[in-house]
């Protein structure tokens, strides 16, 4: 479970470029929930995710992950509880390392690393089975360099890496946005499959309203650094993109002008 309370963060404070990215954001994600997050450019989606992961420190507010206050902890100290997949398919893996070395890095996420051999024989079965579940034939290429794989394959492996060890929450930052449509739908299917099978708690930022309604079991919309609406269960069933827009206009008295949100 993860609870964010009244998060505030302003970039470039006291400069002409002052930009309040989070203005009192509060959100609780319960155990086993799969929440999709939408919002137009500048709504604070990525900043919110970065704040949860520890990549940026909030000015005020509190972040609790599994009953531990992590507000002041740097990324690497949160990593045991917070797993991530980045938007950039190249960002989640190391291209100079082999597939098995990347997986070996991920299997020790948030744990002490010693001087014993990193790629252990006893990991191999787990690596092969999880890679085989991707149906990409990667289980036969454990020794290949990560850089030899395509963007979609690398994103699929990033997803595996994030789910190799248990976490309190899985953060997905528009992780299909940089892929071609076919690969994007493959990675999205894989995401829902992994989340369902392992009963993960997940927060997925997306740029597409359609995607936000199709997957997950709760949808949150951000606007100007705050949550504008939060729907789940019966209210969310059968909802379409135009209903979301109406909801948004009703809540804020605003019209959405970001085309990519509507078309996505």
């Amino acid at each position: 479970m993860i609870t964010a309370t009244d998060l505030k963060l302003t970039f470039g404070k006291g400069t002409p470029l002052e930009n309040p990215a989070l203005r009192g954001m509060s959100l609780t994600v319960n155990q086993g929930e799969f929440v999709t997050v939408i919002g137009s450019n500048g709504a604070g989606k990525s900043t919110f995710l970065n704040a949860l992961a520890g990549e940026v420190m909030v000015d005020s507010g509190k972040i609790i992950v599994d009953n531990q206050d992590v507000t002041k902890l740097p990324t690497y100290k949160r990593a045991g509880r917070v797993a991530r997949v980045f938007q950039d398919p190249l960002a989640g893996t190391c291209e100079g390392l082999s597939i098995e070395e990347n997986l070996a890095l991920a299997i020790k996420r948030g744990q002490r690393r010693g001087l014993s051999s990193a790629v252990k024989a006893r990991y191999m079965d787990q690596f092969r089975t999880s890679l085989a579940s991707l149906n990409l034939g990667l289980e036969k290429r454990l020794g290949d360099k990560m850089g030899l794989l395509s963007g979609g394959q690398r994103q699929a492996v990033s997803l595996l890496m994030a789910s190799l060890t248990p976490s309190a929450i899985l953060l997905l930052d528009e992780h299909t946005a940089a892929l071609d449509p076919k690969t994007a739908s493959f990675v999205l299917d894989l995401t829902t499959q992994i989340i369902e099978e392992q009963k993960l708690t997940a927060l997925m930022v997306t740029h597409s309203m359609k995607q936000a309604l199709e997957v997950g079991d709760r949808t949150v919309m951000l606007h100007q650094g705050q949550v504008v609406f939060d729907i789940a269960g019966k209210d969310r069933e059968g909802l379409e993109v135009k209903d979301l827009l109406e909801l948004f206009e009703k809540q804020r008295g605003l019209e959405i002008t970001d085309d990519s949100l509507l078309l996505g």
């Binding site: 990593a79 291209e95 390392l97 744990q111």
Partner: protein, 300 residues
């Protein structure tokens, strides 16, 4: 051609610079941390070892102390970068400059002779070997031990975390790796190796000198880049072998150039030749591709 003595001398120095190249591989390649501290940690290792040997300490103990001193120097550079956010290159220049004073303080004078002292090489001279082969044998053993240890380390959990830190720091942090600590450890190890090289160099040359570090970084880089050109560094073990092979080839090439009378080169030209060689090694691959690009554009 080279005389026997010149040949063994070149290999001996090459092996010592192989250790320097290991260090530079760690900082420049593994951590992507351009570190010039080595110009100071090389004479630091020499100074620490020389002074302890003169004080009557066991030469291996003195050499170990030189490694620790080198690691300390590296840690200072890394901490300036990680904790005080000073640009890595600048942080290393600051430490390098500071070490010049530190080295003078340690030795109390610009140079210290070790000619009649017992060094790590002394017991080996009783072996049935030619005089100038002795350092080559001992340093080969040292380099091989260093190579195996480094290789094992790079394959360990911590070593893998260090490689990830250099290659993709954002991903490394997301995997729970303390990237700052990895940089401190890596740069310290790197300069520990360079301190070792300095200590061995002082003992084989019979003196420690405060100016002996000038250009160590460039020679080390020349060895690294040259070795990588000969042996594609697709794996860790190949990259480490490339360091040693590159360093030996470099020293042999320099020895040949200085021996070839028709070139008219003298030993004081060494640094100029090194700088030219490194520049060519860095620029040539780029020139080749841009020429190729121009040729294909003309055709199109």
């Amino acid at each position: 051609m080279l005389s026997n003595i010149a040949f063994y001398g070149a290999v001996e120095t090459g092996l010592i610079y192989g250790l320097v190249a290991f260090g530079i591989y760690l900082s420049f390649r593994v951590l992507d941390f351009p570190d010039l501290t080595v110009d100071g940690s090389f004479p630091l290792g020499a100074a620490v070892a020389a002074m302890l040997i003169i004080e009557g300490f066991n030469p291996w103990l003195a050499t170990g102390a030189a490694v620790i001193a080198g690691m300390g120097a590296g840690a200072v550079t890394a901490l300036l970068n990680v904790k005080l956010n000073i640009l890595n290159l600048l942080a290393s220049i600051l430490t390098m400059i500071a070490l010049y004073s530190v080295n003078l303080r340690i030795m109390g004078r610009p140079n210290v002779a070790l000619l009649s002292e017992e060094t790590v090489l002394t017991p080996w001279y009783s072996l049935d070997l030619e005089y100038h082969q002795v350092p080559v044998v001992l340093f080969t053993i040292v380099v091989l031990v260093g190579l195996v240890l480094l290789w094992r380390f790079m394959k360990s959990e911590t070593g893998l975390a260090m490689r990830a830190t250099g290659a993709n720091p954002r991903m490394a942090r997301a995997q729970g790796i303390a990237t700052g600590a990895m940089i401190v450890l890596g740069v310290a190890l790197s300069n520990g190796l360079v301190g070792l090289a300095g200590a061995l160099f002082a003992q084989s040359q019979g003196a420690a000198d405060v100016t002996m570090g000038v250009g160590v970084i460039v020679i080390g880089l020349a060895s690294l880049i040259g070795g990588e050109a000969v042996l594609t560094p697709s794996t860790v073990i190949r990259a480490l072998l490339a360091c040693v092979i590159g360093a030996i080839i470099y020293r042999l090439a320099i020895a040949l150039a200085l021996n070839a009378d028709f070139l008219g080169l003298q030993s004081q030209d060494l640094n100029l030749i090194t700088a030219v060689l490194v520049t060519l090694a860095i620029v040539l691959p780029g020139v080749r591709t841009s020429v190729a690009a121009r040729l294909t554009r003309d055709k199109a």
